[in-house]
């Protein structure tokens, strides 16, 4: 526990796979105060430890698994784990985030974070029990899918009450977008962290912990969690998440025509009903699940009881599942979508990039750029669910055409001389929705430090903030006008720093940093988050300082990317969004305008204190954040 009155385990575990050495480092108080935990620890570690230009798959790369100070306490929805590395997808900062039970268990086992470095000669896994740490041979686990790996580890340890973070065959085979999976359900999906683990021949971390996560001021802590609970009462978004989960968004996408279906060639889906959130609930939902200590419970637990895939039991789908494996490849049989989801999770590959890569290949096939003999003789057209399922396995095993699909769309574009059809930003495929109709959404995706990402900021504030609130908070009422450009760079920058706080604490963004009420964003995301942090850790922290922690981490990530050679050009959406109008739906005819985009990007850089030409943080900005 060391110097901390609560929250932190106080120790970071450092494992060098090359020589098998295991060290424990005390967590530094100033480091905790400046970076909080989770993504703050991981991003700063990547910045401190990695030489520029290293190959992400080389032993020089590190993998960081980091919990936050609130993980393991009864703080609501404090379940999130950050896994991070230099991304093989982008070459920049790469992190992914998973819910579930693993991050709390890491704390109970005695550590705030684990840093994995080097490369093992033979496959290994790490067993951690209450501060005891052991590297163990994993030859018998290599090649095994996620659920088999989990089963074998539980048998080997002789206990099924352990928590496992593992890679599947996708990671072992260096699929560039392989994911890590915690407890067979929580996927740290994006940026290819699983592939880097595979490159180190590092199969899994298994945990068992029974140590206390202390709470510095229990009375204040209880008052804070009760105050948080109060904020959920009657909130529509919370109800929606519980009843439909993230798939509640399908209706919104269909209505606005922003699916980005068929590799962003269509806005709506003709045969939409079967893949609606409502239909997934009616046909497949067994019950909602909650991650550790979550009152919102947006996770779905689904089963397929009849048909060719039965029986299937799985966590999911998420909205992103439906976006990636239904909308993009235009597959509208929900059972096929769920089956594809299970395959991605079992083989350990990011379903978003898998669906995107297959969808891009479908477009290239339909355009005649790819021929049948390139694609293992498959009829690789949009809507072919069998081809989708076939190629998910081929990707994970890097067999046949799957070997190219396993590289993701950027490299596919380079190899096939078809860059234009690779819909990515910084090398990471565009997720969530088509941002063409609203420049702020496009900006948020495009400036995100890990590559295209809808969770790096919260650009929807303009939909509900009042003119008075906008004037008071952003200095211009224009922020309350969805179509106005003024103030939007500022809004996006603020939302990024603010939403980052969730990733530092180990909190869930859906539970803490989402609302359709601006004062509630401040109350939960800053004031209550600060209150619960102080009550847990006993450390001093004002809301201004907490916000600055978010800003500091965002700047460190930017510094990392700049050091890797990312300039202003890396902060642009893919050309298709500028060139082609939205083909259908309510946004029909919309496309991004370069002049407008440049204007909001300029304003964004200005709000951030970054150089408008290079995107680099200015010395003044770095000084103000204590980064020089």
């Amino acid at each position: 526990m060391g110097i901390f009155a609560g929250g932190y385990a106080g120790q970071i575990l450092d494992v060098n796979l090359t020589d098998g050495s295991i060290t424990r480092r005390p967590l530094d108080r100033a480091f905790a105060l400046n970076y909080i935990g989770g993504r703050g620890f991981s991003s700063r570690t990547l910045w401190d430890e990695l030489r520029p230009g290293i190959d992400p798959f080389s032993p020089d790369n590190v993998v960081v698994l980091a919990a936050g100070p609130l993980n393991g306490t009864p703080a609501p929805s404090a379940s999130r784990l950050t896994v991070a590395t230099k991304s093989p997808m982008t070459g920049g900062v790469g992190d992914a985030n998973s819910g579930g039970y693993w991050a709390p268990e890491l704390k109970y086992a005695g550590f705030d974070a684990i840093v994995i470095r080097g490369k093992s000669e033979e496959p290994v896994y790490l067993w951690v029990e209450d501060g005891k740490v052991e590297l163990r041979i994993a030859n018998h686990l290599w090649g095994k899918k996620i659920s088999e790996t989990s089963q074998l580890l539980k048998e080997e340890v002789g206990d099924d009450d352990i928590h496992i973070c593992a890679i599947g065959p996708g990671g072992e085979n260096l699929v560039r977008y392989a994911c890590v999976v915690t407890d067979e359900e929580g996927v740290g999906g994006r940026c290819g962290i699983g592939g880097v683990m595979g490159s180190k021949r590092f199969k899994a971390v298994a945990l068992r912990g029974s140590q206390d996560v202390r709470i510095a001021d229990p009375k204040r802590f209880k008052e804070a969690i009760d105050a948080y609970r109060e904020t959920l009462v009657g909130e529509a978004w919370t109800e929606t998440l519980r009843t439909l989960g993230t798939p509640n968004l399908t209706g919104h996408r269909q209505k606005l025509g922003i699916w980005g279906a068929k590799n962003f060639q269509r806005g709506t889906i003709e045969d939409y009903e079967p893949i609606s959130g409502e239909n997934f609930r009616e046909k497949f939902l067994l019950k909602p699940l909650g991650c550790m200590g979550c009152m919102v419970r947006c996770r779905r637990y689904s089963s397929i009881q009849e048909g060719p895939f039965a029986p299937v039991y799985t966590k999911g789908p998420e909205y992103e599942t439906i976006h990636a494996l239904a909308a993009k490849p235009y597959v509208t049989d929900p059972a096929v979508v769920l089956r594809a989801h299970v395959l991605c999770d079992e083989y350990g590959i990011d379903e978003q990039t898998a669906g995107s890569s297959i969808a891009m290949a479908m477009e290239l096939y339909e355009r005649g750029i790819l021929k049948r003999d390139h694609v293992d003789g498959q009829e690789l057209v949009f809507g072919n669910g069998e081809a989708l399922l076939y190629f998910i396995e081929k990707i994970a095993l890097r067999e046949g055409f799957g070997d190219l699909l396993a590289e993701g769309t950027r490299i596919m574009g380079e190899r096939l001389n078809a860059d234009y059809y690779a819909i990515h930003i910084k090398g990471l495929e565009v997720d969530a929705a088509d941002p063409r109709a609203l420049v702020t959404r496009a900006l948020t995706y495009a400036v995100a430090t890990r590559g295209a990402c809808h969770l790096r900021g919260f650009p929807y504030i303009d939909e509900f903030i009042t003119p008075e609130e906008a004037e008071a908070h952003f200095g211009t009422a224009a922020v309350s006008d969805v179509k106005a450009l003024e103030g939007k760079g500022k809004m996006v920058a603020w939302s990024e720093d603010w939403v980052t706080i969730a990733d530092l604490m180990g909190l869930c963004k859906f539970a803490w940093h989402r609302s359709r009420n601006f004062p509630m964003l401040i109350k939960r995301g800053l004031e209550l988050a600060r209150e619960i942090f102080v009550a847990t850790t006993g450390l001093p922290m004002t809301t201004e300082e907490l916000y600055r922690c978010g800003e500091r981490v965002y700047n460190v990530e930017k510094l990392f990317n700049v050091r890797e050679g990312f300039g202003r050009e890396a902060d642009y959406p893919p050309p298709r969004f500028f060139e082609e109008e939205m083909p259908d739906g309510s946004g029909k005819g919309a496309k991004l305008n370069r002049e407008e985009y440049d204007r909001v990007l300029d304003e964004y850089y200005e709000a951030r204190g970054w150089d408008k030409v290079t995107g680099e943080p200015t010395p003044e900005k770095l000084r103000s954040l204590g980064l020089q």
Partner: protein, 164 residues
């Protein structure tokens, strides 16, 4: 008054009236009793068998409580005739006889202090019940629980009649 205990009230026909495995009951229990985060010090545990089976398990407050009968030091005792079996921590020697004797296995030894750990109903205001987001945990007794089950049975009869 009959003996009270915490029971799991699920309705398998309603996805939202089932345990959602958030384990907030475990977290809040350990917090209430020890002011820490540590589910292995909780007196309730969600047992998961896969395929959507997640059930919180805690003390049944047996009439002839085997834990109390077998306790060699008198640490496990029932202060009120119809009340909960409680632990006198200063008398408990951590022999784990109660752990072996409990018919459902809900007693364990505290991993930090080594003494017996069991549900005490939080002085009549069980925190697991108060915080369960699915509201499937209830403070109840055999009579009330039986009525709940009878009601579920009759509803299933009704449903099958309507369906036929």
């Amino acid at each position: 008054m009959t003996k009270q205990r915490i029971a799991y009230f699920e309705d398998t026909r309603d996805p939202e009236s089932m345990c959602s495995r958030c384990r907030l009951c475990e977290l809040i229990c350990a917090f209430h009793h020890h002011q820490v985060g540590n589910p292995r010090r909780a007196r309730i545990k969600v047992i998961s068998l896969g395929k959507g089976v997640d059930i919180p398990v805690t003390c049944l407050n047996c009439e002839e409580a085997p834990c109390m009968t077998i306790c060699p030091t008198g640490a496990l005792h029932r202060p009120e005739p119809d009340g909960m079996v409680m632990v006198k921590e200063d008398l408990c020697i951590g022999c784990a006889m109660c752990v072996n004797a409990c018919p459902v296995g809900t007693i364990t030894l505290d991993p930090v202090t080594g003494v017996a750990l069991k549900c005490d109903l939080c002085d009549g205001d069980p925190q697991c019940v108060a915080y369960c987001p699915a509201k499937v945990l209830k403070l109840t007794d055999a009579d009330r629980y039986a009525r709940h089950r009878m009601k579920a049975f009759v509803k299933s009869l009704q449903a099958s009649q309507e369906g036929s």
